[in-house]
Structure formats: structure tokens, C-alpha cells
Symmetry: C2
Amino acid sequence: MFVPINKIITFASMEFSSKLIEEAVNEFSKLPGVGKRTALRYVLFLLKQNETEVTQFGTAFIKLRNELRYCENCHNVSDKPLCEVCANPHRDQTLVCVVEDIRDVMAIENTQQFRGVYHVLGGIISPMDGVGPSDLNVETLVGKVSKGEIKEIIMALSTTMEGDTTNFYIYKRLKEFNITVSTIARGISIGDELEYADEITLGRSIVNRTLYENTFSIK
Amino acid sequence: MFVPINKIITFASMEFSSKLIEEAVNEFSKLPGVGKRTALRYVLFLLKQNETEVTQFGTAFIKLRNELRYCENCHNVSDKPLCEVCANPHRDQTLVCVVEDIRDVMAIENTQQFRGVYHVLGGIISPMDGVGPSDLNVETLVGKVSKGEIKEIIMALSTTMEGDTTNFYIYKRLKEFNITVSTIARGISIGDELEYADEITLGRSIVNRTLYENTFSIK
């Protein structure tokens, strides 16, 4: 039995019976983690929907890109000049949590444990992807701090090489001002077993141990 | 340590800081296999693209749905009244391969082993999903066969309960006409090991064994 190698190649470069399908598949496969096969699955799904639904689908993204505004204070996405968090008088404007993007804002908001405001960087320093400090919302953060209205900055970035670099860069930029710079606690996740934890996390969780009475979420 | 159960619920129903983001996430999460988290990842990706690219992204689907036509003969997608396969004079119009959707047409075309034409059903009979014979392109197939222009029908549907039901339904509908109805060969896939094959497949591969000289793809 003989399977020619060009089979595999023709499979990778799928041939479509329609230019329109090809275009739509190409558009979908631009999305992160979506290949040609998944894209085609999405396209076939759309073809089964009625015209109104597909028009709604397409226009949602165009509207999103053209009409979406960012909060003037924290760069969070918002339909108004100030986002809901920044506009809320009950939030502590002197406590700022620095995050990478709006997904992190949503994740922290879901915990209902944070009463301060956010500052969305819009990415992290990553020389490999060509992202430098000037591509991020760092200057506006330094500007806010220099006005003396902020007491504490909580760095809530991923524990990766890029996250650590960004932490360090911002820490250095804010050093001259008289504010506290803290990072979110690193430790064993709730539900995790000690024996499977990596050494650095376990080590940090011992060094940065907390008083037992501070671990109750209801007091 | 105490984690309230409502945490899990609030996480499932994510709160978005913008109506536009919420709409776009809802649209993406209509796609098969896409949840709210993946949808948000796609939305954040689109927000980083420039306006022209996002407009192109959105309009590709609207254009697809509004302008796409189906082949009058085989129901394959096509930009012209007849698809490339049906319009090709070198293809054998008396040999028809019945498939579920255009993905199967593409898969079979990629093998470069089939010289006949197709008939796309647009689905398979699935009472669970509310799909009956009247929802499929069966009548046009019976119509073509009744004209006496077709010699052989090759059924190339999935080996599932639904595929078998559809096979049997079409077989019964075509019984009165003097044509051959065949199905694609079931057997051990090339590269598979015998000991891991299921009993039904292995059993069928022995019953429907082929002459050794017919297994060469180059003659």
C-alpha cells in the first residue's frame, strides 16, 4: 500500500468550491487558535442560519471596533468616558490594581474582593512579540501617580518572564514617588495538593505566609 | 478556608463593562464549540486589529450568506449555477457519490480518486435534532435517478446510527429503479494496528476483503 506524500500537502491547503467560502474561512482562521478546519466548521454553521442572524453576527464586530471607547482614567473598555468602576464613588480611587487586559479586570471583579480601581496596561513587555514599554499605558499610570492622588499600586500580572519584566519596569518608574507598590500573593491554589506544587510556588508560600485569622473570607 | 458557591455562578455569567463587548461575545459564542471565554478571547483579538481589518472580517460573513449560491445539480456550494465538478465534462455524470455536506466533497476531492459527481444531502436524518428526510435534498436525487441517467450511487455517509438510517432510507427510495447502490468500503485504516481495531470493523474488513492487486494505488 502506498500513500503519496502530496496527499498530506493537498490536505493542508484545502481547495474550496467557492471564493466566498474561501474568504470567510480565511477571516475566521485569523482568530487565535482557529485553524482552517475549525474555520470551515464555523462557516458551515453560519450558512445554516438565516440572513438576519448572519447580518447581526457580522455587524456586531464592525460596530464593536468602530464604537467602542476606552475609559479615560484606567483604559478599561467602556461605553462612556469613565468606566463603571472609575465612576463608582464607593470605590477607593487611591488604590490602583495594574492588570494586563480587560479579562483580568473581569476575573478580579468576579471575586468581589477588590474595592479599589484598575489600570489596564493593554499588554505586557515582550521583546519577542515586539511589545515595548511605549506600546503600553505606562505613561498615564506614572502621570496619575505623580499627581500624588494614589497611595498603593497592586501589580496583578502573570508570573511569566514577561510579567516579571513588566513588574520590574513599572516598579523602577514609580520608585521616585512615595507610594507602596505590592504584588498579588503567590502561593498554593485552594484545592491544590502540596506534593504536586512546584518548588518556587511552595517556597514563596512559606516565606510569604499569612496569619491564620486573615484567611477567613467571612469575619 | 471558605469559597462561596455563588463564585462559580458569577463566573459562569460573566459581567462585561461594555454592551458592545457583550453583544460581540454573545455572537461568537453562538458558533459550535465556542464558549464565553473563547468568545472573549476572539473579541480581544479583534479589538487589537485596525478598523479596515475588522470591517473586512464582519462583511465577509454577510457577503457569504447573501451571495452564496448552490449548484443546481448537486447542491454543492458554488459561485455559478453549476459547480466546478458538475460543469467538468471529464467527470462521469452517471456515477453519483451521496455525501452529507461540502466538507465531505472537499475530503473526497482531496483524494483525487473519484471521477464521478456528487450529491450533497445537506445533513443526515436525525430525529433527535428534528431533521427528517424532507429537510434533506433527497427528492432531487430521486428525480435525477428516475430520469434514468444515473448508473451507480455510492453512499458515503458517516458510520453512525444517523448515517445508517439515512443510507437505508435512500436505499429504499431508490430500490424501484434499476441502478446499483454501493457504500464506501469499511475496514482497517491505513497505518492502524489490527489488535486495536474494533470487532465490527475487523469483521467487515474480512468479509469484504479485496483482491491484493486492487490495493496498489499506482498500476
